[in-house]
């Protein structure tokens, strides 16, 4: 491939640069240090392989704020042309145009450089003054590895690295020695542990089986022991339980034999003697009670007959008597009230008499009463009032007539005076117009004013005179009316007199009747009315009081008491209380008689009969139980003894029953034992004690065995939770499988490493000769004293790069060869490798930077020739900062010189300029 054109908008220090029509063989670029040679080499690499690294890309434009960007036109080895555009934004973009199609590359390699990696290109295709010589052992080894080994393949990692990786991984899985801690060793340890665990579990299982056998044995022992213990306990029980039963039964039997008739004895009541005494006492007491009741009946009958007729009479009016006792004081008070009322009536009459004394012209008579009461007060009042009004009218009229003036008292001003004053006034006025004296108008004014005043006063006087005339006319009319009023007054007086017609009223009062008359008449009527009312009340109360007094008298006289008063009543009340006492006694006696008659006596008699019967029954029982014929103290005691015996039997049986719920069974056992010959042979207490000790011992053994049994059962139960042998074995198999897997994987990896190693060896063997041949050819073109570049295998089996001198001597590439020779050897070797790698693929541009700087003249010329030769097959970019060197090369190989300067970021370095430079240099 050959780069034909570069258009660089921005890249590192290069801005808006264009390199058009670049030479297809050798591109010689001259520039000082920092003029952009490294930038240009970076650009060439980015052109082929994209921007790297994207983050922190070192060739972002230095002086402008733009993205790295460039475009290139490339002629491929097959003659076709492509355009490449790359720009490093946040997401790098690259396009490849070929055959009219645009291909998006993103940031990938150009498709025709795939056979050479970026790293390889950078390390192999860029030759600088410094990287072609003075290589130390490690670098030398690396070069050998990379150039002759893996790196000689497309995009491949070094075989040695892969092999190391595989072997390392294989060793981490398994190692033939016991070093390190590979996976297999860990698994081996786990396996050991798991096997130990398996042994433990197997032992547990074995133990469980033993435990199960022991458990069965223990259960068997427990069964036997329980059997023995049961027998022994039976014997002890026989001694401890049956014997007391036996004795008790025997005693009961003995007691029974002493009782003549157990059935009869069993019917004897408890507390026999007491009961007998009690029944006897009860009969006696009952009898006494009956007698007492009969006596009481007689006594009550007598009491009931003891009440008198007077008592009955008193009791029949007891309520009246008691009422009178309560009301007697009121009765007396009423009498006093009547007397007071009489006095009141008299008082009203006296008052009437006193008033009428002022009114009447004659002494008081009873006949005046109805006349006075017949006066109709409203009529009287109205007439007197009217009369008084008329009287007042007359008085008023008379007084006014005396005060009225005459019309002559008021006359007008004479008209002459009035006229004279008028003439004077007019004259004065006239004079004032005529005379110019100042006094004249004043006088005229005076007269005018006087005239005006007199005229006004005259008018007022005339008005008053007219008014008086009118008043006099009215007075005349009123006198006529006064006469009429007097007439009316006289009529009224007559009428008033008619009212008092039959009464001798004082004439003075009748001539001038007034309201006082009326008031007096009214007061008289009031007293008379009150007297009448009180008189009526008096009559009523007197009638009532008289009736009560009669009733009282009737009551007391009926009861034989002459005094119809309080003393008499109190005497009667005392008698009444006595009668009531008598009555109560009689009632109680009758009630008691009724009670006695109703049942008390019968009850007592029946109780007596019952007590007697009970006693007889008891006696019958006693006689039956004792088989006696007559009751007495001895028989009674005997009966009691029988009863005690029977009680003892009952108690003994009850105790037995309580102690032994299965008494029936025990009785049978006792019965059997009684019948057997040696039923009670173990009655010896010592034997019983011994048996008890033995039983206790057996019990302890049994307890111990049961605990053992429980412990074994728990142990067996707990062992269920243990891991089974199968599980443990499973774990072992799991680990073993894992070991197998790990070992197989190790073998696989080791085999793969071995395979790659062998392949690598074969590859070297196959391809090294070609490289070395090419290198030898290049080296021969540079130097004369070395015949060949080759490899030899040293004593350790390692291959070593050597040069063979003309004398056939092999010298290792390294010291003691001189630095210049090493540069030349490595250049030859590198060019050979490049040729080898490019074989059959696109030939990538070679970049040389001051490569020939330290070469002597002869070798320099040879080197230039080699470059010229190489440039025929691949494009070569030759950088130098030495003008003389550039000129010397340009002299050897006619070519345009491209010149860069330190500030060339703004300088367009194009072919034309280069041509000019070249021409100048040539000149």
């Amino acid at each position: 491939m050959r780069i034909r054109q570069l258009d660089i908008p921005a890249y590192g220090q290069l801005v808006d640069q264009q390199l058009n029509d670049l030479p297809s063989e050798l591109v010689l670029i001259y520039g000082d240090n920092e003029s952009g040679k490294s930038t240009l080499f970076s650009l060439l690499t980015a052109l082929l392989y994209g921007f790297y690294p994207i983050k922190g890309f070192p060739y972002r434009p230095w002086h402008v704020d733009r993205y790295p960007e460039f475009r290139a036109a490339i002629a491929l080895d097959d003659g076709s042309e492509v355009d490449v555009y790359r720009k490093l934004t946040s997401s790098p973009t690259s396009t490849l145009q070929r055959n009219g199609r645009t291909e998006n590359l993103a940031n990938r390699n150009l498709p025709f450089v795939q056979h050479i990696s970026r790293q390889l290109y950078q390390s192999l295709y860029a030759l600088t003054q410094h990287n072609q010589r003075a290589l130390d052992e490690k670098t030398q080894q690396e070069i050998e590895d990379r150039l002759l080994g893996s790196l000689a393949a497309n995009l491949l990692r070094p075989s040695r690295a892969v092999i190391d990786e595989l072997e390392k991984k294989a060793s981490s899985l398994w190692r033939p020695d016991n070093r390190g801690n590979p996976e297999d060793k860990k698994l081996r340890d786990q396996l050991h542990e798991a096997k130990q665990n398996l042994k433990r579990i197997q032992q547990i299982n074995q133990d469980v089986r033993v435990d199960v056998q022991n458990l069965a044995s223990t259960k068997d022992k427990i069964g036997k022991l329980e059997n023995t213990l049961a027998k022994l306990n039976a014997r002890i029980r026989r001694a401890e339980v049956l014997l007391p039963v036996h004795d008790a039964l025997k005693q009961i039997k003995a007691w029974r034999s002493e009782i003549p008739d157990e059935q009869a004895a069993s019917q004897l009541p408890d507390g026999l003697e007491n009961r007998y005494q009690m029944l006897s006492e009860q009969a006696r007491q009952t009898r006494q009670r009956a007698q007492k009741l009969e006596e009481e009946h007689t006594q009550c009958t007598q009491t009931a007959n003891g009440i008198t007729e007077r008592d009955m009479q008193l009791l029949s009016v007891s309520k009246q008597l008691e009422n009178w006792l309560i009301n007697i004081s009121g009765h007396k008070n009423e009498h006093h009230g009547i007397e007071k009322l009489k006095l009141e009536i008299d008082r009203h009459l006296e008052k009437t008499k006193r008033i009428t004394k002022m009114l009447l012209s004659k002494p008081w008579e009873r006949t005046y009463v109805p006349k006075l009461q017949s006066i109709i007060l409203p009529n009287l009042k109205e007439r007197i009032r009217r009369f008084s009004q008329l009287q007042d009218e007359i008085s008023r009229m008379t007084a006014r007539a005396e005060l009225l003036p005459t019309t002559s008292m008021i006359g007008g001003i004479p008209r002459k005076i009035l006229w004279s004053l008028t003439v004077l006034a007019l004259s004065s006025v006239a004079l004032s117009f005529v005379l110019s004296k100042p006094i004249v108008p004043a006088i005229a004014s005076f007269f005018c004013l006087c005239t005006l005043f007199v005229a006004i006063f005259n008018a007022f006087l005339r008005n008053q005179q007219n008014h008086l005339k009118q008043e006099n006319k009215h007075a005349s009319r009123k006198n006529a009316i006064a006469d009429q009023v007097k007439t009316e007054q006289d009529n009224l007086r007559e009428k008033i007199k008619q009212i008092f017609e039959e009464l001798p009223i004082a004439s003075s009062l009748l001539e001038h009747p007034d309201m006082e008359l009326y008031q007096n008449i009214r007061e008289v009527q009031t007293h008379l009315e009150e007297r009448d009312r009180l008189t009526t009340e008096l009559q009523q109360r007197q009638t009532k009081w008289g009736q009560d007094q009669d009733n009282l008298g009737q009551l007391t006289s009926n009861l034989g008491e002459e005094r119809a008063n309080q003393a008499g009543l109190e005497q009667l009340h005392t008698s009444l209380e006595q009668a009531r006492e008598h009555k109560r006694s009689v009632d109680e006696a009758q009630k008691r008689i009724e009670e006695i008659d109703a049942g008390a006596l019968r009850d007592a008699q029946q109780a007596l009969s019952k007590a007697q019967q009970a006693k007889n029954s008891l006696i019958t029982l006693i006689l039956a139980a004792t088989k006696e014929h007559e009751i007495d103290e001895q028989v009674l005691r005997h009966a009691k003894e029988l009863q005690d015996l029977l009680r003892r039997i009952t108690n003994a049986e009850r105790d037995l029953q309580n102690k032994h719920p299965n008494l029936k069974q025990l009785k049978q056992e006792v019965s059997k034992l009684d019948q057997s010959a040696d039923g009670w042979s173990l009655l010896d207490q010592q034997m019983v004690e011994k048996a008890k000790i033995e039983a206790n011992h057996l019990q302890q053994q049994l307890q111990q065995l049961r605990e053992e049994k429980g412990s074994l059962e728990t142990k067996i139960e707990n062992s269920k939770g243990e891991t089974s042998i199968g599980e443990a074995q499973g774990q072992i198999e799991q680990i073993e499988q894992e070991r197998t897997r790990v070992q197989t994987e190790r073998d696989r990896l080791a085999l793969l490493a071995s395979l790659i190693r062998e392949a690598d060896r074969r590859f070297r063997e196959k391809h090294q000769p070609d490289v070395l041949k090419r290198a030898t050819r290049y080296l021969g073109k540079i130097v004369d004293n070395y015949e060949a570049l080759t490899t030899i295998t040293d004593s350790d089996g390692h291959e070593q790069l050597v040069v063979r001198t003309a004398s056939g001597e092999f010298r290792p590439v390294g010291s003691p060869l001189s630095g210049g020779t090493l540069d030349q050897v490595y250049l030859a070797f590198r060019l050979a490798v490049i040729d080898h790698l490019d074989e059959g693929n696109e030939k990538l541009p070679l970049v040389m930077d001051e490569t020939l700087i330290n070469w002597d003249n002869e070798r320099f010329d040879r080197g230039v020739k080699i470059i010229a030769e190489i440039a025929k097959t691949r494009q070569v970019f030759l950088f130098t900062c030495h003008r003389w060197l550039a000129q010397r090369i340009a002299k050897s190989i006619p070519m345009p010189l491209l010149e860069l300067s330190a500030d060339s970021q703004y300088l367009t370095t194009d072919h034309r300029r280069s041509n000019r430079s070249t021409a100048a240099n040539k000149t």
Binding site: T723, T744, L755
Partner: protein, 412 residues
């Protein structure tokens, strides 16, 4: 004539070693094995079979725990209570010699033990003690019975259905190679007696030995490791003399082992998509909705951009958990095996590169034992009887692996 009903159980392997990384899983497997056997007994009772035939390896003699002993005897007693006879021919894992557990256990009366290598014939009766079939059986006396026991079975001379019961390795059976060669026999040996049914044990893969022979392996009742995949159970057989038996498989294993190899795809380039891809693959290749619990060993191979991420322990654990949750698996073991970044291996064939040389050498090694021997690491971690075969097996996937290692990641 009454149709004979039997339940054919084989290779219960109670207390067998259970595969599992953790104790809990092993415990589950142990319990599931017991549960499976109990379910088989339930089936026998529910279907009112005339007899239960156990074709050996009921338990593993060396691993049998006391509690499993009790369990076995309890289950036998259950059958006895239902008046169901059990015919039990011992196998290589539970041989019948005096010092072995099968001989020592206190079997209930309904259990008929066949421990002798000489075939014995007994009559199977119904509840009314009427004969319904003749059974000929032989047992393993020791743990390594090498003789052909089937060859000694004599032809049946009865009108009743005739049955053979034996723990044997029919050499032609599928999966027989995976088992130790005990009491081997051929199809001919099984055909010779003319039995109406052979109840066989030893091979764990359920199968009819041959289409023209009514000989069946019931397979084991519960898979014990990832290689024993699929449903496991027992066979319910109805037989009429002279007719082919009606064989019904009854799955009883509560846990189902599965083993899958999934080749990753290059276009699956993130873990979430990968999880979905794996879930889809698993669901499409397994029947997860069968009411059982599934245990899956999943091997991931192939070329994927996620190769480096998957092999990271943390990522692998997360991926495993995600897939396990998505598929409701009881257990999932995910193993990357030669899982590499995508590489175009074809482009390196016959090219002058080390990788080209590797591929060429690989082809040679597969063909040339000398080269293979030469390449063999010394020493090998695994000792194999057939080293060359072992080495050759190690070359599987070596091309992809080598390419993935040699090709620079940055230059892919």
């Amino acid at each position: 004539m009454t149709k004979l009903r039997i339940l054919h159980i084989a290779d219960a392997h109670l207390d067998t070693p259970f595969y599992g990384h953790d104790k809990q899983l092993r415990r589950r497997l142990r319990d599931s094995c017991r549960n499976a056997f109990q379910l088989a007994v339930d089936e026998a009772i529910n279907r009112d079979v005339h007899a239960v035939l156990i074709a050996g390896d009921l338990f593993d003699n060396d691993q049998l725990s006391f509690h499993t002993e009790r369990f076995i005897l309890d289950q036998m007693e259950r059958l006895g209570e239902e008046n169901i006879a059990v015919y039990y021919a011992t196998g290589n894992h539970d041989p019948g010699r005096a010092n072995y557990r099968a001989h020592q256990l206190g079997w209930p009366k309904n259990v008929h033990l066949f421990t002798s290598t000489t075939p014995t014939t007994v009559v199977i009766t119904d509840r009314d003690d009427q004969p319904v079939a003749k059974l000929t059986a032989a047992g393993h006396n020791s743990v390594a019975e090498a003789s052909n026991l089937a060859a000694n079975f004599q032809p049946s001379d009865t009108n009743l259905p005739s049955i053979g019961l034996l723990h044997t390795q029919v050499l032609s059976a599928s999966g027989a190679a995976n088992h130790d060669r005990y009491a081997p026999c051929s199809e001919h040996d099984l055909r010779a007696p003319g039995f109406d049914y052979w109840a066989l044990g030893h091979v764990h893969l359920r199968q009819q030995v041959s289409e023209d022979i009514p000989a069946w392996y019931a397979g084991n009742i519960q898979g014990s490791n990832p290689n024993e995949t699929g449903q496991k159970g027992v066979l319910y057989v109805e037989i009429e003399h002279g007719s082919l038996p009606a064989v019904e498989f009854i799955p009883v294993a509560p846990l189902i082992w599965e083993n899958l190899n999934i080749v990753c795809r290059e276009d699956v380039d993130d873990l979430r998509t990968l999880t979905a891809f794996l879930e889809t693959e698993i669901r499409s290749r397994l029947t997860l909705s069968d009411g059982k619990e599934h245990l899956l060993r999943l091997e991931l191979t192939g070329q994927t951009p996620l190769a480096d991420e998957i092999v990271e322990e943390e990522n692998l654990e997360e991926l495993t958990q995600s897939v396990k949750n998505a598929t409701d698996l009881l257990w999932l073991e995910m193993r990357p095996h030669i899982l590499v970044l995508p590489v175009d291996i074809e482009s390196y064939q016959d090219r002058p590169t080390v990788l080209g040389e590797v591929l060429h050498l690989l082809d040679e090694a597969k063909e040339d034992n000398g080269i293979l021997q030469q390449l063999s690491p010394d020493p090998l971690a695994q000792n194999s009887e057939d080293n060359l075969a072992y080495l050759r097996s190690l070359l599987d996937g070596a091309d992809i692996h080598a390419a993935s290692l040699l090709v620079d990641k940055d230059n892919r």
